[in-house]
């Protein structure tokens, strides 16, 4: 087993809108190592989200191979993908996507429940990660009682609490003001380093990109 977590070989994906065919990804080849934080930049509609969705196992390529930790994922059933996601992939969304009826604590705990982690370990992990994102005091607040930055910190905690191999973040700072965005970027970066997780971030944000180990540019569905 080598150190590559994400590997795409000639991955293509296209959509048809009426008669028009849009090639969202054109034969993309890419390898990302363990613990690497990679920024994916590009203009709107260039294929960033498409790439991330495939890497996050919530979408499938039309052609090419996607290997996650050296395992070919093309043949996995939807159920197997779900199981894979709950164990190994964390997600951070642009609009936070916290569950409004769950408290901060419960939102963060949810992935661990899905993963079948036992009671005691769940408590330790959730408490620990909430402390690290600075939300220990807000554990029993509901998401709509929090600011945008606090919500995104909850989302970061939710993505990292299960100690995933890979975290997918699609424009995580787009809905935040620039100061908050900076804090968030710092936080993600330090988490990446401490936890040794692989981080794929789609972003328009130059500062975000600069913080990453590597910056990739995608234009019209192709890496440049």
């Amino acid at each position: 087993m080598n150190n590559t977590v994400v590997e795409l070989r000639d991955v293509s994906k296209s959509y048809t809108l009426g008669d028009a065919r849009v090639d969202a990804l054109k034969s993309v080849t890419l390898a990302v190592a363990r613990g690497e934080m990679v920024a994916i930049q590009g203009p709107s509609g260039s294929g960033k989200s498409t790439l991330l969705n495939i890497c996050g196992l919530i979408d499938t390529p039309d052609a090419g191979t996607f290997l996650l930790h050296d395992e070919v994922t093309n043949t996995l059933t939807p159920r197997q993908r779900a199981i894979y996601r709950r164990r190994t992939i964390g997600f951070i969304f642009q609009s936070f996507n916290l569950v409004p009826v769950m408290t901060v604590y419960e939102n963060v705990e949810y992935p661990l429940i899905l993963g079948g982690v036992d009671d005691a370990l769940r408590t330790t992990r959730v408490t620990e990660i909430l402390a690290r994102v600075g939300l220990a005091k807000h554990a029993h607040h509901l998401p709509d009682q929090l600011s945008g930055g606090q919500r995104q910190r909850v989302a970061i905690a939710r993505a990292l609490v299960k100690k995933p191999l890979l975290v997918i973040a699609d424009e995580p700072t787009a809905n935040l003001d620039s100061t908050t965005a900076s804090t968030m970027i710092e936080m993600m970066k330090s988490m990446t380093d401490v936890e040794n997780v692989t981080f794929l971030v789609a972003t328009h944000d130059e500062r975000m990109a600069r913080h990453c180990h590597r910056e990739l540019r995608i234009i019209d569905g192709g890496l440049v």
């Binding site: 969705n53 979408d59 779900a82 996601r85 709950r86 997600f91 419960e106 949810y110 992935p111 899905l114």
Partner: protein
């Protein structure tokens, strides 16, 4: 907290995300439950009353000559029961039997000398008949037949009494044919006037003592022996026993003879079925609407949870729990309302108008049946679960990327 408790907690919070919509569906469920319990309880009460009425009138089991129901008599009492005293004594020795009443059914002419009319008479055991038939015979004037009377006495239906302008103490003549076809008559004193609740009956019906009827027809036989049991539930087993013991006689249970009871029951059962069907459809549509809209509203949440690794089945189950909660709360409210109505009717005494062909109304009551409550609640639970399943089935399988892009 246990995980299943958390699921219930989240479901509980979720159903209140749209109070008005969930509340409306609970209301629809509650009304459906109340409607079913109200009408169901009313039907059950009616069945019970008619059961008692039938059983009181003709007895739980009626023994007669084998051909009594099958053929017309060519001569009076041709199909009467012979040696009935012996049979009666034998039947009474059974501890389940409360009473055995012999009866003679006969017809003839009744006259006051100036005019005459047809009557339908019953010769009865004056000692016991009127205690057993109880509240279903209303004596409006005078009193019931006296078994110790040394002269023939009669009780007249009030319509019949009216035709003759008869009062208590007047004397009337009964004419009928004897077993060998000759005409026979007797003068009898009127001791009582009664109403049965059915005007047609009151026009024709009269009671005399068994021995008066027997003398008039010149027979020792009786038409039927009505067996009154201590408990209606014993009827079927007892009928089987009697059939073995007296194979030469015809044995009928009250149930077989109560055509009115069965008519009403059929009608009410059908009304209940139609009503139940409509309620089921309304509740089903309501829950499908509620859950369907909830699923659409929560599309992005579904996408998020699915991305985190929740399976469609798990997501579907959450919606089913929510729907079941709505169903349970709605049913509980419906039961409380129905229970309240049952109690208030019990103490309030609301009268129903007389049914067709009857002269008297009856109190509106609804029976409380735990089986009916349980079945109704289970039905509602099943409907909400089925409704939620169909309403959410597609939504939880939406492609994750699409669901996440939903606004």
């Amino acid at each position: 907290m246990k995980i299943y408790l958390k699921r219930i907690k989240f479901a509980w919070k979720n159903i209140w995300r749209n109070r008005r919509r969930s509340g409306a569906t609970m209301g629809v469920t509650a009304m459906g439950v109340t409607g079913l319990l109200f009408f169901g309880g009313f039907a059950l009460y009616t069945y019970e009353s008619l059961e008692e009425f039938s059983a009181r009138q003709q007895g739980h089991v009626v023994l007669s000559h084998a051909n009594f129901y099958a053929q017309n008599e060519e001569k009076p009492m041709q199909h009467g029961v012979e040696d009935w005293e012996k049979i009666r004594a034998d039947l009474k020795s059974n501890t389940d039997v409360r009473q055995v009443l012999p009866r003679i059914e006969f017809t003839g002419l009744i006259s006051n000398g100036d005019k005459s009319s047809i009557f339908v008479g019953s010769g009865v055991d004056a000692c016991y008949e009127f205690t057993v038939t109880g509240p279903f015979l209303e004596v409006t004037q005078g009193e019931v037949l006296n078994p110790d009377s040394d002269m023939p006495t009669i009780m007249l239906g009030k319509g019949l009494a009216q035709q003759f302008g008869t009062h208590i103490g007047d004397s009337l003549t009964l004419l009928t044919t004897t077993v060998d076809g000759t005409l026979n008559g007797v003068d009898a004193k009127v001791v009582g006037i009664f109403g049965t609740g059915v005007p047609e009956m009151d026009q024709r019906k009269l009671y005399v003592s068994l021995n008066v009827a027997q003398n008039l027809i010149a027979t020792r036989r009786v038409s039927t022996l009505s067996v009154y049991l201590k408990n209606t539930a014993l009827t079927m087993a007892y009928v089987d026993k009697l059939k073995q013991r007296y194979p030469q006689l015809a044995t009928r249970s009250w149930d077989e003879l109560a055509t009115f009871y069965h008519g009403v029951r059929n009608l009410y059962d059908r009304i209940f079925a139609v009503m139940g069907f409509v309620i089921v459809i309304v509740v089903l549509l309501s829950i499908i609407n509620t859950i369907g809209m909830t699923v659409v509203e929560r599309t992005r949440e579904i996408g998020t949870l699915a991305a985190l690794g929740a399976l469609p089945g798990e997501l579907l189950f959450n919606f089913v729990i929510e729907a079941a909660m709505i169903g349970v709360i709605g049913s509980a409210i419906g039961m409380l309302v129905a229970g309240g109505i049952t109690l208030s009717l019990f103490y309030g005494n609301v009268m129903m108008p007389p049914p067709p062909g009857m002269t008297q109304g009856y109190p509106l009551r609804i029976a409380f049946s735990s089986a009916l409550y349980a079945k109704t609640a289970l039905a509602m639970l099943a409907i909400t679960i089925v409704g939620a399943y169909f309403a959410a089935r597609k939504g939880v399988r939406k492609p994750i990327v699409e669901a996440l892009a939903h606004v």
